[in-house]
């Protein structure tokens, strides 16, 4: 135990005596969170639509048909009441709700005006915006059709208005940070934990100190675990900074339970640490460790985690691949718990997947860890 402490203290000394390390692990997250990411416009496909249709008349059926025939939408269920929409939204049963008013057809033909409500999940603002834009297009196409038909049949007061009422759930102001903060967290922890841990372990190999340590009675596994602990604590510290910055600077409130948010994040941090450990068993130089964690982890996170491009609009192959990117599950879970404010029960799947990943990677890297030099 005393040995173990000596290792941890030594590790902290390494970190705090190297200004570059400190800047890297504290400076980068802060800089990133303060420089809000660009809005990347992307095509959205396969938006899952739920419909509430109390009128169930010709017009509503036609509109639903239009939605169904569109490449972007896919009607997945019909709702019993408008209230159900909110509830099922939290369970992520669909991404977009179409709520018709009562007597839709009647209103449309008699008063020339009918209303329909769009509810979009805007915790990813890009996604929400695009979905609403597509839906509005479909609606105005339908309006045009109606008018042409009316003209053809000789009606002169051919003026039909269908008024969409848009409701953005979870992120009513379409604040970009809502999307950015969870993505940033997903990335920063990989950066600090995976990259810094692997570099720290490989540095011992490179500087020859690993040789001395291995020739000593220290259990080699202590060497690595004691490397993980300081980075674990630092990551936690950074998590708190990110949360404070996002609440007080970016005005992103934490809607969900703060304790579960922390627990969930710590599980993800553990995954990242074990990835760092795995990398360190595979490479020999600090540069290689940096490249492996940079290219091997950062790129998939940026592209496949849903941080920038919505996973739903990726081709199926990429969607499958994205399943093995831990950040995908973390970001999706963080969006739910932090932005949507749902209970822990709704992120159970993400939590279990991340826990499983951590266990698998740790087992693998312990198997690969060598008690000798080669």
């Amino acid at each position: 135990m005393k040995q173990f402490w000596a290792f941890i203290i030594k590790e902290f000394e390494h970190i705090f005596r190297d200004m570059r390390t400190i800047l890297l692990i504290i400076g980068i997250p802060i800089a990133q969170i303060l420089i809000i990411g660009f809005a990347v416009s992307t095509e959205v496909k396969n938006i899952r639509v739920a419909v509430y249709d109390p009128s169930n008349d010709v017009s509503t059926q036609l509109i639903i048909n239009h939605f169904e025939s569109s490449r972007s939408f896919e009607v997945v269920r019909s709702l019993q009441s408008p209230d159900e929409a909110e509830r099922l939204f939290q369970q992520n049963a669909f991404d977009f709700a179409l709520i018709f008013s009562e007597h839709f057809d009647e209103n449309l033909y008699h008063t020339g005006e009918a209303s329909v409500q769009f509810i979009a999940d805007a915790s990813d603002p890009n996604y929400g915006n695009t979905a609403v834009a597509y839906a509005t297009n479909i609606l105005s196409d339908y309006q045009q059709e109606l008018m042409q038909k009316a003209m053809a049949s000789g009606m002169n007061s051919a003026n039909f208005r269908i008024v969409p009422q848009v409701q953005m759930l979870y992120n009513p102001e379409m604040n970009g940070s809502y999307n950015f903060v969870p993505g940033l967290m997903g990335m920063v922890f990989i950066l600090i934990c995976a990259m810094m841990t692997s570099i720290a372990i490989v540095r011992e190999k490179e500087s020859g100190t690993m040789e001395v340590l291995l020739a000593s009675p220290v259990k080699p596994i202590y060497i690595v675990i004691s490397k993980m602990i300081p980075y674990f604590l630092i990551s936690w510290f950074i998590l708190i900074i990110i949360l404070l910055l996002s609440i007080f600077v970016l005005n992103v409130p934490v809607a969900g339970n703060l304790i579960w948010l922390n627990v969930f994040s710590l599980i993800y941090i553990l995954v990242a640490l074990s990835l760092g450990l795995l990398i360190s068993t595979l490479v020999r130089t600090q540069v290689a460790a940096m490249l492996a964690s940079g290219m091997g982890l950062m790129m998939p996170i940026m592209i496949l985690s849903g941080m920038i491009f919505p996973i739903e609009s990726m081709p199926p192959v990429l969607q499958w691949i994205s399943c093995i990117v831990p950040a995908r599950w973390y970001i999706s879970g963080i969006r739910k718990i932090m932005i949507e404010g749902v209970g822990v029960i709704h992120i159970l799947k993400e939590m279990l997947i991340l826990t499983g990943m951590a266990a698998a990677i740790i087992t693998l890297s312990l198997k690969k860890f060598k008690t000798r030099l080669e």
Binding site: K2, Q3, A6, F7, K10, E13, H14, R17, D18, S207, G208, T209, E211, V212, L213, L214, A215, S216, P217, V218, T371, R372, L373, E374
Partner: protein, 291 residues
């Protein structure tokens, strides 16, 4: 009693045969030198003996412990100082020493008597970071760290490489005193002149042991008479001697030429040759020539 027993160790890296059938013993309390140029296989052998890498074949035991089966226990009994400076450059002298003491389940106080003499020289710099020490100081600190747990066998891989001559001399003095405290020391060096400071030496080249004996016996075993010659221009003399039929070998040694003759007493006429005692390097070159 043999402290170290090595039996038929072989090690290959790809196409390079790093060690070929290495066998020798080191006795308890001995200062044993492994002498050979860079790339001879000294570091590989050290790493095998300290359980850091596995040999392809062969067996060895250190302090009665098998280097493969008992590697965990073995690591408690040995002290190892790698060839490259391998301490934490960003930790201070004191911090490094305390850290390694803890790693070996001991404290600096407990075995202070072992390192006292060496550490006293480091004392003025104890808060200085190890990376900022001079070469000689670094070696002293590394030795302290390797000694702090009172190992029964100490492995020092080229401890004097890159160290100034005065510090080298001091370092050997320290080893002598450690030997007096009963620690068995295996040390490697590329400097032939350091060989005489060891009780016994093994000459190693291309992964093979050329000879193992006391430095004295190795020198005695030199098969020929050795002569010394010199001239203001050694190179032209060297060229000239190589042409002469009586000459067996000529090598440049610093400011002199070392010469052996085909027949020991048949000297060439017009060259001044002075009979000298062969050094370890002469023996080494001769052994290489025989191969």
């Amino acid at each position: 009693m043999a402290k170290l027993e090595i039996d038929g160790i072989n090690k290959r890296y790809g196409d390079v045969q790093a060690l070929t059938n290495i066998s020798f013993r080191v006795n308890d309390g001995e200062l044993f030198g492994l002498i050979g140029p860079d790339g001879a296989g000294k570091t590989t052998l050290f790493r095998i003996l300290t359980s850091l890498i596995l040999a392809d074949s062969g067996e060895a035991s250190v302090d009665g412990l098998d280097i493969v089966k008992d590697y965990k226990e073995l690591r408690r009994h040995i002290g190892y100082m790698p060839g490259r400076f391998s301490l934490y450059q960003d930790l201070s002298v004191e911090e490094n020493l305390n850290f390694f003491a803890t790693v070996f389940h001991t404290t600096v106080q407990e075995n202070y008597h072992l390192i006292k003499e060496i550490y006293q020289q480091l004392e003025p710099f104890r808060t200085r970071r190890a990376g900022k020490l001079s070469g000689g100081m670094k070696q002293k600190l590394a030795l302290c760290c390797a000694l702090i747990h009172k190992p029964s066998v100490l492995f020092l891989d080229e401890p004097t490489t890159g160290v100034d001559p005065v510090s080298r001399k001091e370092f050997w003095e320290m080893l002598k005193r450690l030997k007096q405290q009963g620690i068995t020391i295996v040390v490697s060096t590329p400097y032939m002149d350091e060989a005489t400071r060891c009780d016994r030496i093994a000459l190693i080249q291309h992964g093979q042991i050329l000879s193992i004996d006391t430095p004295e016996n190795i020198r005695k075993a030199y098969p020929k008479k050795l002569y010394r010659a010199s001239a203001p221009d050694n190179f032209s003399l060297l060229e000239r001697l190589r042409e002469l039929p009586e000459i067996d070998s000529v090598f440049l040694f610093g400011e002199y030429l070392h010469v052996t003759l085909k027949k020991d007493d048949k000297k060439p006429k017009d060259v001044q040759l002075q009979l000298i005692e062969p050094g370890i390097e002469d023996c080494f070159i001769d052994l290489l020539r025989q191969k």
